[in-house]
């Protein structure tokens, strides 16, 4: 990840969303603010028992959104060709 990318935008269904990256107790979280009337979403990367990584919301309960938005955030940080 680029250290300077603490605020960026992603394209989601229905328009753009603003993403803010924060570090809390050395844990990386992302706060996503939607332009439509959807409450802000906070998400982080977690590890399953089998070692696989997945995106999850903080607090839990918005798993499908976290997985969808998490992919877009990961895409944002992919090295550009």
């Amino acid at each position: 990840m680029n250290p300077g990318d603490d605020n960026f935008e992603i394209e989601v269904a229905g328009g753009k969303a603003k993403v803010q990256r924060h570090s809390i107790s050395e844990q990386m979280i992302f706060r996503v603010i939607f332009l439509v009337k959807i409450p802000p979403l906070v998400l982080t990367h977690a590890t399953r028992e089998n070692g696989n990584r997945f995106w999850t919301s903080i607090p839990k309960g918005r798993q499908s959104e976290a997985e969808e938005i998490g992919k877009l955030i990961a895409e944002h940080f992919k090295p550009k060709q």
Binding site: Q20, I24, I29, T44, T56, K60
Partner: protein, 269 residues
């Protein structure tokens, strides 16, 4: 082995995520850039402890709920207006702001809170509308319909500042829901806010650090409560810029936006 959102995670990962939840809960509400009063949402408020020697930063609902309201339904009726059984419409009553001149008037809902439960509302800036009345091209007289221009107002060189508030706890008698609610105290507009909020000539009571401390922790008599509540923050220490009319819907609501032919604010006092 524990579960988190239906995903099998280790015990250690579960604890990490739960700890993160607690930290985010404390952190999340401090970074809202825009609070819209009529959403009646949660805001960051500095609330003194019972001993009046320390404070907590807590979330409270903006929109003071009087103790005589019994249920959420009653609250919604007060806030949005309603028709009674005879079809008569009762207009909404707004309790987002408490007018400083009326804080201690007998019979007002804010009196007990102003005496016993004063707090500070954290703000990074606030929004207000300036009413510009264009001139009729034929008559040269001002039109009746105003062109409303939004402004973002901040305190110079301050990342955040304090507004005087009063708070009250409230319990829904039917569901047991408990909330703490608050109103922001307002005073007469200073020279800057007279120009920006020119329809009502009011502004929030912004307190410097000494007055903020006194407002929250002081053992104040009624005269002093009214004096602090009427504090007019110095014009020279505030600034205002125009922002987009759709600021409620855009990513950066405080971003400066210029309007052509808009008369400039007068800053020389």
């Amino acid at each position: 082995m524990c579960f988190y959102n239906g995903q099998k995670v280790t015990h250690a990962e579960f604890i990490r995520l739960k700890q993160l939840e607690k930290k985010v809960a404390n952190f999340d509400f401090l970074i809202h850039q825009l609070q819209i009063g009529f959403d009646y949402g949660l805001n960051a408020v500095l609330k003194p402890n019972d001993e009046k020697n320390d404070f907590d930063i807590v979330q409270m609902e903006w929109g003071f709920i009087p103790s005589y309201l019994r249920t959420r339904e009653d609250v919604n009726k007060m806030r949005h207006g309603y028709k009674d059984a005879s079809g008569k419409f009762h207009p909404p009553i707004t309790t987002l702001n408490a007018v400083c001149e009326e804080l201690l008037k007998p019979g007002k809902i804010y009196k007990e809170a102003a005496v016993k439960r004063r707090c500070l509302v954290l703000s990074t800036g606030f929004y207000e509308w300036r009413h510009i009345f264009p001139l009729n091209k034929k008559t040269g007289l001002p039109l009746k319909t105003a062109n409303k221009i939004p402004y973002f107002i901040t305190v110079k060189d301050r990342g955040y500042f304090f507004m005087a508030g009063i708070w009250q706890s409230w319990t829904d008698r039917s569901t047991g829901e408990y909330v703490e609610t608050f109103a922001i105290v307002t005073t007469t507009a200073n020279k800057l806010m007279e120009q920006v909020h020119n329809s009502k000539m009011r502004m929030p009571t912004i307190l410097n650090e000494d007055l903020a401390y006194e407002w929250m922790f002081g053992d104040l008599d009624e005269k002093r409560i009214l004096e602090i509540a009427a504090t007019q923050y110095p014009t020279q220490e505030m600034q205002a810029c125009t922002i987009a009319k759709d600021f409620r819907e855009i990513i950066d609501p405080a971003k400066e936006f210029e309007y052509e032919d808009l008369p400039a604010l007068e800053f020389n006092f």
